[in-house]
Symmetry: C2
Subunit: 374 residues, 2 copies
C-alpha cells in the first residue's frame, strides 16, 4: 500500500499461514471469505490451503485477488467432523484437511496453522504431529477475554477441556501465558493470576495452594508479576492480564461468560423492539450499540492459541463467520511474525534448566535470558 | 390487603424469618431497609432480628411500621467478618449475630434464616447447628441464574466453593435441585443437566461419567428428566432447569458470568455517554434498558439457598442493597411457606431408602411417594 507496489507473482517475503478450510459449522465458504478479508487487509499474508480442491476452487475464484495469495493447495478429501473422537482421528485421520494443515507447520512450509474444526481432534493431531516442547507436560489453549484492562482483554488458559492440571502444569501455563501476553499483547511484564474460589491463601484445592507457592518462585525467571489467587469476576476485570486455570474450569467459565453475554445482547435487542418509541430509540442508539459491540464482539478476538507445542496453531471458533476467521488468521500472522513459537520454546527451556540447576535462587536466572520478548 | 385488615398487634399467623443484620458489605442499614421493603409488600412476614440492638434500633425506628413486625430481638454484639475463617468461626463464633440467626431456625422460632455475611462461615455454622439431612454427605448452595427458560431462570448448584464432589454428591445435588425447582419455581418435573466440557458421553472427568450413569437411574424416584451433560453455555440457556456441578466449578462459573454481565452493562453506559446524540438516544432508550435491567438484575434473584440441612438458610449477596436483601427475604418466605425443608427431607430420605432396598428397580419407587411437590 505504501512504498511497495503489488507484485503480480507470488511474493516470497510473505508469511505463510496453513488453513484448514473444512470442519467449521459454517462450511468452507466462511473460511474462504475470512481468508479473502485478511488477505485484502494485509499484503504480507500468504496461504497454504487444505481441503477438497474441486469444492474450494469455485469459492476462491469468487474472491478477487485471493487465488494469487494461495501459495500451495493440498487437495485432501477427508474431513474431521465435530462428532469424531480425538482418539479415532489420531489413528485414522491422516487423510483429513486438519491433519494436512498441521503437517504444513511440521514441515516448515507454513509458520502457523488455523482451523475452525473439532477442538479435541485438533489438539490431538497437533500434539502428535508437532510434539510438545521439551519440559511441557500438558499443552494448553489460551484465549482472549474482554476485560477492563487498558488493552481491553485478558488472556485465560487453559480452556482446552483437559480434565486435570497439577501444580507443575499450572506453573507451565503461567510461564506460557506470560510469554503469550508479551508477544500477543505487548505487555513487558504481565500480571498473572491463579483462578480460585476466593483470594485468601487458605482457600481452594490442594494443587492450587501448591501452584501458588510454585508460581511465586518463578516471577523473575518468567518475567511476570504474580497477583496470587483471583476469582471468576477478575476474568473480565483489571486485576490480572493472564488468568491461569485447569482446562475444565476454564472451559466452563468461558462458555458461561459467552452464553451470558449472548443472552444480554438478545434481551437488549428484544427490549428495543418493545414499542414504537423504543424502536426509534434503537435507531438513535445504533452508533452507541455499535461501539459496545465492537468492544466485546467475540469474533474480533476469535482464536484459541495452542501453547506448548513445536509450532503455532490457532483454533478458530467452530461458529466463526468471515470476520471471526479473519481475526484468527490475523492472530496467527502476528504470532508468526513475532517469532513467538521460537521465543516460547526458549523461555520454557530456560525455565526447565533453571528448575534443574538453580531451584533455590529463582531471582538470579532472569539475567541470563536476553532473547528479548519471550 | 384483600379480606384481612391490618392487625395492630403482632400477628401469630405470620411466618417468621430470622435475619442476621450484620456482616454485609453495605452494613446493617441495607439489611434493615430490605426488611422494611419486604414487610411492606407482604403482611404475612414477621422477623426475628439479630445484631447489636443499640445500633439497630435507630435504623428500625426510621422505617414506618417495621418495629411492629419484629417479633423478637436478639441483642448480640459480635459480628462475623468477611475475613474470618470458617474453622475459626465454628470454634469461637457462638456470640455472633450469624450464629444467633441460625439458632433461631434450629430452635424452631423461625422458619428460615437470611444473612448477607461470609458464605463459608455461614455454611459452617449452618452445618454444625442445623446438621445435615440423613443421607446427605455434602450440603450445597443453589442459586438462580437468568436464562432463556420460560420461567426466566435456571437453578445451579453447587456454587458453594466446596473443593470436591464425587458422583454420589452430584446425585444428591440433582435430587435436591429438582426438589428446589419444584417448590421454588413451580416446575412439576424439572429438567436436570450435569455440567461438563462437552455433551458427548465420553467427555469429562471420571466422576462425571459415573454421576451421569447414577443420575440416569433416579429420574423416576426423583421426579425429574435428565438431559445428560450440558455446557457452560447452557447455564443461561433453555436446555435444563437445574444445572448440577461441583462447588468449585459452579463458583467460578457464576462469578465469571456475573463479572461479564457487569462489564457489558458498564460499557453500555459508557457507549451512551459518547456524544450528545447518544445521550439523547440513551434518554429515549431508558424504558427499554429498564426492561432489560429488570430481566437480568441479579438483585431480583438474590439469594443462594443452602440445601441438605435441617432448616432453610438463604445467603444473600454480600454486596446486596435493600432490593437485594428484600429479594432474599422473599425467597426465604416462599420456601418457608411451601414447607420446603420438610419436603426436601422426605425426598432425600425416600431416595436413601430406595438406594438401600431397591437399587435395581429405580422406576418402581416413584409410586410410593405421595407427599406432593417434594
Amino acid at each position: 500500500m505504501t512504498a511497495q507496489p503489488d507484485t503480480p507473482a507470488k511474493d516470497a517475503r510473505r508469511i505463510l499461514i496453513s488453513v484448514d478450510a473444512m470442519g467449521g459449522d459454517n462450511g468452507a465458504g466462511a473460511v474462504i471469505a475470512g481468508m479473502a478479508m485478511s488477505a485484502e487487509k494485509n499484503p504480507d499474508i500468504g496461504y497454504i490451503l487444505h481441503g477438497p480442491r474441486a469444492e474450494l476452487e469455485p469459492l476462491v475464484a469468487r474472491r478477487a485477488g485471493l487465488s494469487e495469495r494461495i501459495h500451495a493447495w493440498h487437495d485432501v478429501s477427508e474431513v474431521v467432523t465435530m462428532e469424531d473422537k480425538p482418539s479415532h482421528v489420531v489413528r485414522h485421520g491422516s487423510g483429513t484437511s486438519m491433519w494436512s494443515a498441521i503437517d504444513s507447520v511440521r514441515d516448515g512450509q507454513a509458520k502457523a496453522a488455523v482451523s475452525c474444526g473439532n477442538t479435541g481432534a485438533l489438539m490431538a493431531i497437533s500434539t502428535i504431529r508437532l510434539r510438545r516442547l521439551p519440559g511441557v507436560n500438558r499443552p494448553a489453549i489460551a484465549i482472549l477475554w474482554p476485560s477492563r484492562n487498558p488493552q481491553g482483554f485478558n488472556v485465560m488458559l487453559d480452556v482446552g477441556a483437559d480434565v486435570r492440571a497439577d501444580a507443575r502444569d499450572l506453573l507451565q501455563f503461567a510461564l506460557m501465558g506470560a510469554s503469550y501476553a508479551r508477544n500477543g499483547m505487548d505487555l513487558p511484564r504481565p500480571r498473572i493470576g491463579l483462578l480460585n474460589v476466593g483470594t485468601e491463601e487458605h482457600k481452594g484445592r490442594p494443587e492450587l495452594k501448591e501452584a501458588h507457592a510454585l508460581i511465586s518462585q518463578y516471577t523473575e525467571t518468567g518475567r511476570f508479576d504474580f497477583v496470587g489467587f483471583v476469582e471468576g469476576s477478575d476474568l473480565p476485570g483489571n486485576t490480572a492480564d493472564v488468568i491461569v486455570t485447569d482446562g475444565f474450569t476454564g472451559n466452563v467459565a468461558i462458555k458461561t461468560g459467552e452464553g451470558t453475554a449472548n443472552l444480554i445482547t438478545d434481551l437488549l435487542r428484544e427490549a428495543f423492539k418493545f414499542s414504537i418509541l423504543s424502536r426509534i430509540a434503537a435507531l438513535l442508539a445504533l452508533p452507541s450499540l455499535g461501539r459496545l459491540r465492537k468492544r466485546v464482539d467475540p469474533r474480533r478476538v476469535n482464536g484459541g492459541v495452542f501453547l506448548g507445542l513445536n509450532g503455532t496453531v490457532v483454533k478458530s471458533h467452530g461458529k466463526a463467520d468471515a470476520i471471526g476467521v479473519s481475526a484468527a488468521i490475523k492472530l496467527a500472522f502476528q504470532l508468526a511474525q513475532s517469532g513467538f513459537a521460537e521465543k516460547l520454546a526458549a523461555r520454557v527451556a530456560s525455565v526447565g534448566e533453571h528448575a534443574q540447576n538453580d531451584a533455590e535462587l529463582p531471582g538470579k536466572a532472569a539475567d541470563v535470558h536476553n532473547e528479548g520478548q519471550a
